[in-house]
Symmetry: C2
């Protein structure tokens, strides 16, 4: 049994490789829901959808999110009704959000709805929202505290990050199977996702960090930072804003209380010693996932750790 902790695009790319070499039924993916947002009254779960669409083979690979070849007629029309319609949602994508919102309104939990969506998309992996409860990642900027999506999409990550807060985190319980999937796994892999707002959120859910520390599973993380910069997203701005150096080492340090192995990119081989001094085993390999072969090779490196 393998359990992955995942954010959005980087995690989805890695998992595309992983599912080629493991039995999908053996894989549980705990996904960040701190980015979830209400838009036009609909419940959007950006990271869950990125993971699900990617593994279902329908993601818009160029953008990394949304459905390939989707149109935007509904959103264009909604722009007449709403001054603020900065979140991009395609017509086919809307179907997911309408379905999710309707089931949540009927009283189902996000984890139950996610299972239904996964089933419809033909997935055999288990996608687990980190929590069924409210948990909202907010970025503190000079403008005040804004929802993470507002910081990232609307304001294009342009504001200086003064801090990060996780609203309602203290009341957010792990969704069903989250703790068990960590406890019972042979391998827990931390995907190359943002250590603050993708993995950091999952670690902030009650009991998750503790389960990671206690599990007998091998715990392997892939650095989302290559040569001092994230491959995608604002991890550099967030790390810097919180006073961390922007480096693979910083990420390893954030996980050092539970991590067994850290996978460093060859570009960061010089950090090997420093990470090892944290008591973490280090494996140096190519972590830039340019195509399916490099994704599979990276997945193999994780499995062989």
């Amino acid at each position: 049994m393998i359990t992955a902790l995942a954010g959005g695009v980087g995690a989805a790319r890695f998992l595309t490789g992983l599912v080629k070499i493991v039995n999908e039924k053996d894989l549980s993916i705990i996904v960040n829901t701190g980015d979830d947002i209400g838009m036009f009254g609909l419940h959007i779960s950006p990271d869950i959808d990125i993971i699900a669409y990617t593994l279902a083979g329908i993601v818009d690979e160029e953008k990394g999110w949304g459905i390939r070849g989707d149109t935007f007629h509904c959103l264009e029309t909604l722009r007449k009704f709403y001054r603020e319609a900065w979140f991009n949602l395609g017509d086919k994508d809307f179907a997911t959000h309408i379905f999710r919102t309707n089931l949540l309104k009927k009283g189902l939990r996000l984890s139950e709805v996610t299972a239904q969506i996964s089933h419809v998309l033909g997935l055999n992996v288990k996608i687990l929202p980190m929590t069924d409860d409210k948990f909202e990642t907010r970025i503190i900027t000079e403008m005040g505290s804004v929802h993470f999506q507002e910081y990232l999409v609307k304001r294009e990550a342009k504001d200086e990050v003064l801090g990060v807060e996780f609203l309602d985190a203290e009341n957010a319980n792990p969704a069903p199977s989250v703790i068990e999937s960590i406890r019972e796994a042979k391998l827990v892999t931390i995907c190359p996702s943002n250590p603050i707002v993708s993995i950091g959120t999952i670690l902030a859910v009650k009991g998750v960090r503790d389960a990671l520390r206690r599990t007998d599973a091998k715990r392997v993380a892939i650095s989302p930072i290559i040569a001092g910069a994230p491959v995608k997203g604002p991890a550099d701005k967030l790390l810097r804003g919180l006073g961390f150096e922007v480096s693979a080492y910083s990420v390893a340090k954030l996980y050092s209380d539970f991590l067994d192995t850290f996978i460093l990119d060859t570009a960061d081989a010089a950090e090997k010693d420093k990470v090892e001094k944290l008591g973490i085993e280090v494996k140096v390999t190519n972590t830039l996932m340019k195509n399916l072969e490099t994704k599979i090779a990276l997945a193999r490196a994780v499995l062989e750790s």
Copy 2:
């Protein structure tokens, strides 16, 4: 001031002519909401949308409903999530329903939401839902009682009509301005709509029928039945199912307690005497609205009654 009682397609066609020869600001349209239905968790108001889209010039004229040139990508995708997705909703059309549902969830009334939608569509007429409260038209068939849309769209009006029921009608109050618009009008026109499930529903809302009886306005109805058949829709099946003869006369009789003038099609000139015996003035003219000119001519006939 002119007030119209309206269903969907037939009413919308007539009103297209009317707004060409009156000041739009002088026109209030009380619209049937008995057909409103929840679909995928969204609140759909079919007749309000038909009237609004038609007057905004964006309706799909061939179908009579929906938005011209709309695509159906969201609905096609929803079909993967729902076994039942028989109600046709286009991608642009979904924007209206998402907006409406969101505002209703925020506590606004249907009449307030409708005013906002009308504003966004650039309309100057006042579209008034007959009620802001629940009111559901159901058709009793051998299968039991089904929502009107299920009878009409899903089952294509194939079932024999054993009866009609208006759920929650006794608790449905008229929306703001409905009664006033009837009381203060100089002319109240009953559009050529289904007398049972479009006009009959409006008449069943508390106080409406009474206001029609008492108003000083001239009350003019256009027959929706021409030569023993409705131009569109299942009015024949409904009239027959409730034990009425399918004729213009039957419709006049249903309105005879408040009507001043009934506009008969030339094809039904033979019914003139019979209708006059109900104490109703009769005007015979062409009521088949083939193009804008015939719509305007019919509107003029109503104004000159």
